[in-house]
Amino acid sequence: MTIFLQASFEGLALGAVYSLVAIGFVLIYKAMDVLSFAQPALAVVGAGIISALAVDRGINFWIAFIIALIATGLLSAILERTFLRPMVGEPVFAVAILTIGLDIILRTVLDDWIGLNPRSMGDPITTWGEFGSLTVLNNYGGVIMKFQEMGALITALVSVLFLRYFFKISKYGIAMRATSFDQEASLAQGINVGRIFGLVWFIAGILATFAGFFITGGFNLLTQASFISALRALPAVVIGGLDSIPGAIVGSLIIGLTQGYVGYYQFPFESATGIILGSGFSLLAPYLIMFVILIIKPDGLFGTEEVERV
């Protein structure tokens, strides 16, 4: 039971981290029909900026964190303005490949900067509680909750609530919904569609930085492989449906929980049945789930079905 609770909690926290990246994916896809493969790289860029400011420059961590949020958001908006704006109206796949190109550039520069040794974020989280964690539910055997994981859950929750409010009430939120519904009609209504695109990428960049921090913060550290964790938000988006924010959250939780359970139960399962799944299976499981769901429901669990005419 303890293991189950522990696995569930860690899975939920992972799901929260993925959902931060996943919401960015969905926002961009809804606004401009672009699947941005550069999102995971932006997450790592955000983490890199935090590390560069807080560790290399010695700036207070919280200030560095805020600077990184804004800087990554701006970088993401600049990328959109320079590389993606000329591609409006081009085939979806061409734009997706272009974002892969962006992703390669960002990662090549970043990998060179990170080098072979893992980098710390310089965050104070590891000094809180018992090495950055808290043990709760002691009468059930004790579940270890890291502050970082709690932070991820809270951040995800707050972001979702904020976005909900933002889309319902604010002027720009409504303009965004209009843009995602019909770009030309919203242009005719006087909405500055280009500014909306920039804003969407800005928000996606900020969300990616949060995710990047929760992936690399604490004892996890920033390595050249951190990027792969952020990329796992992609199957999450696909499972939920590319154009649905609730879908992105549900998909992320599915992926996170799967990863948590597989991580804890793989070894007992292997020793009980004799079937060897192999090392790193918990990283593969999300893609297997994506496979199954796409075969059953090609547009994801919550995605709108595409209607095609000849």
Binding site: F83, G101, F281
Partner: protein, 367 residues
């Protein structure tokens, strides 16, 4: 009739694989140049040219499925990996931990194509059910699944970070690994592989040209342009999408087997997402949906390392002076070119060549 090269008096002549005198002359000149240069180029450039030939075979493979049939495949690198491992297991030397049967090349080379083709057929049901981005994402999943299998199936691949040796070059029971004597002339292993690649390259090129002028090629083009309309005029979507995937994987497997035969060893972590994306980039930079395009792209991609190396030598900048490693510079240049071509010239190098050609064709009345 002599002065009128564009006058076709029958259908066979018009649909010939090389249907104009210019094409024939260029093809012949190119071949001659390749064969002659093979005796003069240094080992390093020889290696690059052979790689260019082999990579263009793989790029043609991707072009069949993505350029002609319009089905997105991010898993091309995985199929290359399957072909490589089939050849390594059948033709390689075994040990206590790693399987290897030391068979003849005449056995492993066809199988290195056929096995990936069968795997490609297994992917086909997905391709029929999905389209566009979703298909791309599923093939992205395939990349991860295959690299998981590659790094865990240690008796075949040696495990990641360790790798294994690839096939030995043995034809008709004769071992070519240390070169052989043709009369008094010594032909080295890599030179032999060059001629083998050239032969495969010609076969593959003729194959793809032939495919494009046949019923199958027309069906692919129809599916690419509008799959629903294609189905409505009686094209069996399942059969043609499946055959596109199978053919593309066949090309990938064969070229992979020889690429890694040349380098001698293979590590499973090589077949990652970037490797697959490289081929997409080659096809896009070259020009998707054309026969010459992937060839341009492959030559361009394979010769970049050599050019960068010579430039670094030329300017006398070494190691510490450069902010980035040469392979990183290559990757950056390649990514920038990919983006640049997508934005400014979606038809790729082929499009550039096409405009140049038309400019000089109409000269001095070009505008």
């Amino acid at each position: 009739m002599k002065g009128r090269p564009k006058l076709y008096t029958n259908y066979q002549k018009e649909t010939a694989i090389l249907n104009t005198t210019t094409q024939k002359v260029w093809a012949l000149l190119g071949l001659l140049l390749l064969i002659i240069s093979s005796f003069y180029l240094s080992q390093y450039w020889m290696f690059l040219v052979t790689t260019a030939l082999l990579i263009s075979i793989a790029a043609w493979g991707l072009n069949i499925v993505s350029g002609f049939a319009g089905q997105i495949s991010l898993a091309h690198g995985a199929f290359i990996g399957i072909g490589t491992y089939v050849s390594a297991v059948l033709g390689g030397v075994g040990s206590a931990y790693i399987r290897g049967y030391e068979l003849d090349m005449l056995i492993w080379l066809p199988l290195a194509g056929i096995v990936p083709a069968l795997v490609g057929l297994m992917v086909a049901p997905l391709a029929v059910r999905l389209k566009g981005l979703n298909l791309g994402l599923v093939t992205l999943g395939l990349v991860y699944i295959s690299s998981f299998i590659f790094s865990n199936w240690k008796s075949v691949t040696g495990g990641s970070g360790v790798g294994r040796k690839t096939a030995r070059l043995k034809i008709f029971g004769i071992d070519f690994n240390d070169g052989f004597y043709l009369g008094s002339y010594h032909i080295e292993k890599n030179q032999f592989i060059f001629f083998l690649s050239l032969l495969l390259f010609i076969l593959a090129g003729a194959g793809i040209k032939n495919l494009m002028r046949s019923k199958i090629g027309r069906a692919y083009a129809a599916i690419r342009d509008r799959d629903i309309a294609a189905e409505a005029i009686g094209i069996n979507l399942y059969r043609y999408k499946a055959s596109a995937f199978a053919l593309s994987s066949f090309y990938a497997g064969v070229s992979g087997a020889i690429i890694f035969l040349m380098s001698g060893g293979v590590d499973p972590s090589q077949f990652n997402l970037v490797y697959s994306v490289t081929f997409i980039a080659i096809v896009i930079i070259g020009g998707a949906g054309t026969v010459l395009g992937p060839l341009f792209g492959a030559v361009f991609f394979s010769l970049i390392p050599g050019v960068i190396k010579s430039l670094i030598h030329f300017f006398g900048a070494y190691g510490q002076l450069l902010p980035l490693h040469p392979t990183q510079i290559e990757r950056l240049i390649f990514a920038l070119l990919l983006i640049g071509f997508l934005i400014f010239e979606p038809r790729g190098l082929w499009g550039v060549w096409f405009r140049l050609r038309n400019y000089f064709k109409a000269w001095p009345f070009s505008y």
